[in-house]
């Protein structure tokens, strides 16, 4: 029998500390939609998604109601579009993006991920065309999310793709300039992308996945922060233990919701992604957890060590709470989506350089960072290459989701609204990387790749 103290603890986590399930994401394979006619492909895509995800949103809402735990997002990820569109003789990529958008609207999900290409070792014709179409696709749709994997530990870094993505990001920023370049918030450049990530904008349904799967992403930075308040001044062993215990409880929620959703939808359960995903709401910040550990302002010296401890303890605590753990799993540090990060960036405690160091020990990478609109494409490419190098060498996923905010300069604040929050425009290096990026080719895979 559960005792009263435990009941109240759970309720407090939900009502005061913003504990929630961040997302239930249904992964759907579109491999069987392949056609040599683009219209047929679009029709098949729309039909299949709306058929499989028909009850996704309502099921999520029912679970939310019965267990009294908010489920913030219901989303869909699909097979990377570049793969399923190769056979099209008359591929019109914007048409495909629109079909995805229609399917997302029809099913009621707020984002659909998978307008993606995997080019870590090289491009196919289809990959090339899809990547070229990304700016228009993101400008002409609202719910479609795009990602491109340009590097892996096994393949090295495709520097041609890194160079191209700098231009793609610039163009996306320009085409969505009326909405603070928001298109870039829906575009992720990965190294070592994972196939079962439930979080947007980088979710896609990998080709090693089954027909349809339910993945769940948990959250709860506020709960961890609150738990750490009770161990102020104690040593790091105690801090790590406290984070682990809290992460365990949070993950159990995810496991329960994932199992229920899987059962009710009749779709296999994939993974729980053990992530601390912040929101712009006060009390739902990863930066505040680091500050609770004793860092005066996120970004000060010691921040990387604090984040490393947090990231590791979250995984250790969560791993036993779920039967299958996957996705990105760790602490996210999206600047615009985290009240503490926004504050720290505004008072210049947090710089891009420090964020880059933090990405060596957190779950993803440079996330939701706004930079001046006149930042050169080659500079963006170089930032992407730096992040990819961290991912490739350290055998981890890294990503860049960067917004060169059109017509804005360092120090401005741009508003995205909702979960995407608001971003202080951060300074980049004033020195160029043009000649480095213009070399092209591929940076060879590191020694770490030769494990066989």
């Amino acid at each position: 029998m559960i005792n009263n103290h435990e009941i109240i603890e759970t309720i407090k986590m939900i009502s005061e500390e913003n504990l929630d399930i961040r997302t239930i994401t249904m992964g759907i394979s579109l491999l069987d939609c392949v056609s040599d006619c683009c219209d047929t492909l679009c029709e098949k895509i729309y039909d299949k998604i709306t058929r499989y995800a028909k009850n996704l949103v309502s099921t999520g809402e029912n679970i939310e109601r019965e267990y009294g735990i908010p489920i913030i997002n219901k989303r869909i990820s699909v097979t990377p579009v570049s793969i399923i569109s190769h056979a099209c003789r008359d591929a019109d990529y914007i048409k495909i993006a629109r079909a995805l958008e229609r399917a997302a609207t029809q099913t009621g999900v707020n984002f659909i991920g998978g307008y993606s290409a995997l080019v870590h070792k090289g491009y196919t014709q289809g990959d090339k065309r899809l990547i070229e179409s990304i700016p228009q696709a993101l400008a002409q749709t609202e719910r479609v999310c795009s990602s491109v994997n340009i590097a892996s530990t096994k393949a090295g870094i495709n520097m041609d793709a890194a160079a191209q993505m700098g231009n793609v990001i610039k163009e996306t920023a320009y085409l969505t300039k009326d909405k603070n370049s928001i298109g870039c918030a829906k575009l992720v450049v990965f190294a070592n992308a994972v196939e079962d990530n439930p979080f947007m904008a980088g979710a896609f349904h990998g080709i090693g996945e089954g027909e349809c799967v339910i993945n769940v992403g948990v959250s709860g930075p506020g709960v961890v922060k609150s738990a750490l308040e009770s161990v102020r001044g104690m040593d790091f062993g105690t801090v790590a233990e406290t984070v682990k215990k809290t992460a365990f409880k949070i993950t159990r929620m995810g496991q329960l919701v994932a199992q229920e959703a899987s059962k009710r939808l009749g779709v296999p359960f994939g993974i729980v992604d053990l992530s601390l995903a912040p929101t712009p709401e006060i009390g739902d910040s990863v930066a505040y957890i680091l500050e609770e550990m004793g860092i005066e302002k996120c970004g000060a010296h010691g921040t990387t060590a604090a984040l490393a401890l947090l990231n590791d303890a979250v995984k250790k605590g969560g791993i036993m709470a779920s039967s299958y753990v996957g996705g990105l799993s760790g602490a996210f540090i999206p600047v615009s989506e985290d009240a503490g990060m926004i504050e720290a960036a505004m008072c210049e405690a947090l710089s891009i350089e420090k964020l880059e160091a933090m990405t060596c020990v957190c779950s993803v990478g440079l996330d939701m960072i706004a930079v001046p609109g006149d930042t050169k494409a080659a500079t963006l490419s170089a930032i992407i290459a730096d992040e990819a190098a961290i991912g490739v060498v350290n055998n981890k996923t890294t990503a860049v989701r960067i917004i060169p905010a059109y017509n804005h300069k360092a120090g401005d604040i741009i508003e995205f609204g909702g979960l995407l929050g608001r971003a202080p425009v951060m300074q980049v290096s004033k020195y160029g990387s043009d000649s480095f990026i213009s070399r092209g080719g591929r940076i060879p895979a590191p020694m770490q790749s030769l494990k066989n």
């Binding site: 109240i8 759970t10 019965e66 267990y67 929620m253 496991q255 329960l256």
Partner: protein, 90 residues
């Protein structure tokens, strides 16, 4: 048996238990256990109920309790027991 945990948190006032119990009775719900205490300066009542034979859907029941809470100026929530079991028991 399908069980749910009902919690009432807020400022103490007359007739809380009576009204909650009446609503449950009207919906054919049996109260298995009940406890009330002052926790962190708040009136806290926790009930364990058997909802197996509940007349209405869980959604509707939760909504009715929400309304009652609003009338009384308290937070009244009902949650499936599994959420507590899964969080606190291995």
């Amino acid at each position: 048996m399908e069980k749910a945990v009902l919690t009432v948190i807020g400022k103490d006032t007359k007739g809380i238990i009576a009204r909650v119990a009446m609503l449950l009775y009207e919906n054919n719900i049996n109260i298995l256990d009940i406890s009330q205490t002052i926790m962190q300066d708040m009136f806290t009542m926790i009930m364990l109920c058997d909802i197996t034979e509940c007349r209405v859907k869980f959604d509707a029941l939760a909504e009715n309790l929400d309304d009652l809470g609003e009338k009384l100026g308290l937070s009244v929530r009902i949650q499936h027991e599994d959420i507590f079991n899964s969080m606190h028991r291995i």
